[in-house]
Amino acid sequence: MVARKNLFEVGAPFDFDEEADHVTALEYCLGALGAELVGGVKRRAESRRMDVEHVEAVVHGELNDSLAAIGVVGAKGHPGIERISVSVYVSSGETEAELERLWREVLETSPLLRTLQVATRVEVTFQVAL
């Protein structure tokens, strides 16, 4: 894949083999969501000169029917993402109220999150963990 001046490789659309060499398209999608939220927190914190030490996201995705995704005849569901859960953790010297305010802004201004929320169930949690 080429995006502007950057080149990156994408593996299979999805892969259930843990040893697969490349990041799949599905993993890129979920990873992009986590990165969008982590990057959003970092960018906003920097612009406000807030003291944020770490930001981390854990993203899980679940297909509606993985059998449908691999084309099994008679699969009952569809291959789409049924549910995504995102936990964002932040370590910061700021007050929880300030961090919550920043987080709400991130949620409101994240294009990928807002798009996926229309298409499927997305559960997002934000935790301050020193």
Binding site: E53, E56, V58, S91, G93, A129, L130
Partner: protein
């Protein structure tokens, strides 16, 4: 040791830290405050925890591990040849990345919040591991004092990260030699300072028997690939007994639980102590400090000739166990143990990881108070 009453009550170690202390730990980690400033906050926190234990009626007190970031990685600041490595850093160098990722998923905590003390050179004590903690507590209480230390097997497993360690130690057995030596020195010093109870923490032992060698926690991250549990348990017994010998006549305990990193019980290990019984029987430790307050721990077992530190409350729930429930647990244990061999405690610490306590101090207080209440009632009737 000062005389203990029947059914002595103690905690397993950690107590929830105040926000002020957590911030001080963070500021110290970031190099923004020095030891003196940190000690000012930590001293006050330890005194609060001590006064609280005395007020509740705990018989064998400790410092709540207030100065430590967690129950074992604090050693990085005390030993030469050890560096705290974040899990993100470890992920870069570990060969079996898929297994490591599974571990991270199991943890239910941000990877940045956990650092592993990793051996990167020959290890030796730069300063005592816990002697300073003991001295401070003894200056401020007349009660018998318990000190907790990470066990030699846990330390070896955690610190041996092949890719980072092999230049100094070819095998984990080589590293284990020096780990045992360090702990022997520490225990001798603790004994000289008048410690009343030394508890070694070895939570990894349950990993070995319940996960068939496929470990699930960062403490064994470096060895996430399959290990032979029998060989590992042999190594653990040898190391623990060697280290315990340094305690002489001082009472020793071994705490073994099934994980305490999450309130989600489904992420913690499950199974009785039966697979470890033969190992426990061979240990020269005086007391086994075991969790028995959840069904995950299985039924009570008799360990011949040993004291039992009976876990009677679950540190991870909001519900406070009633004194009646606790008395029932003790009465069950009395079928297998004489009263003078029963100690009482929560299943584990209330804040094994300082930044991820499993309960609030108020709930922890109510739970320990209930244990003390049950013990006092039983003493009256014993």
């Amino acid at each position: 040791m000062s005389t203990l009453p029947l059914f002595p009550v103690s905690t397993v170690g950690s107590w929830p830290r105040s926000q002020e202390l957590l911030r001080a730990q963070r500021e110290k980690r970031l190099g923004r405050i020095g030891d003196q400033e940190f000690d000012r906050v930590a001293d006050a926190a330890v005194l609060d925890v001590l006064r609280l234990q005395e007020e509740i009626g705990v018989d064998l007190v400790n410092d709540g591990e207030q100065r430590r970031d967690n129950f074992y990685s604090f050693i990085a600041g005390k030993l030469s040849g050890v560096r705290l490595m974040t899990l993100a850093e470890m992920l870069e160098i570990i060969e079996d990345k898929a297994a490591f990722e599974r571990i991270l998923q199991t943890l239910d905590v941000p990877a940045y919040s956990i650092s592993n003390p990793t051996c990167v050179g020959p290890i030796a004590r730069r300063q005592p591991l816990a002697v300073d903690e003991l001295r401070f507590v003894k200056r401020h209480t007349a009660k018998p004092v318990k000190v907790t230390l990470p066990g030699p097997y846990l330390m070896t497993r955690a610190m041996f990260v092949k890719e980072a360690t092999q230049e100094a130690y070819r095998t984990k057995e080589d590293l284990a030699e020096d780990v045992a030596r360090v702990l022997e020195e520490e225990i001798r010093d603790l004994v000289a300072e008048g410690v009343d109870f030394i508890q070694l923490d070895e939570p990894v032992l349950t990993e070995l028997v319940f996960t068939q060698g496929r470990t699930r926690t960062f403490m064994c991250a470096a060895l996430a690939s399959t290990q032979d549990p029998t060989e590992e348990l042999e190594l653990a017994v040898t190391l623990i007994n060697r280290v315990l010998a340094a305690a002489g006549d001082v009472r020793t305990g071994l705490h073994v639980c099934r994980g305490n990193w999450s309130r989600d019980e489904t992420t913690l290990l499950s199974g009785g102590y039966q697979p470890l019984k033969a190992i426990f029987d061979r240990l020269t430790v005086r007391q086994l400090v075991l969790e028995y307050a959840t069904e995950r721990a299985g039924g009570l077992l008799a360990f011949e000739g040993k004291e039992l530190g009976l876990g009677v409350v679950n540190p991870r729930t909001d519900r406070v166990e009633s004194e009646v429930e606790i008395r029932e647990s003790i009465e069950q244990a009395l079928r297998l143990y004489p009263a003078h061999r029963l100690f009482l405690n929560p299943d584990c610490g209330f804040a094994t990881f300082s930044n991820r306590p499993v309960n609030a101090s108020s709930v922890a207080t109510a739970k320990v108070r209930a244990i003390v209440g049950a013990a006092r009632t039983l003493r009256g009737g014993a």
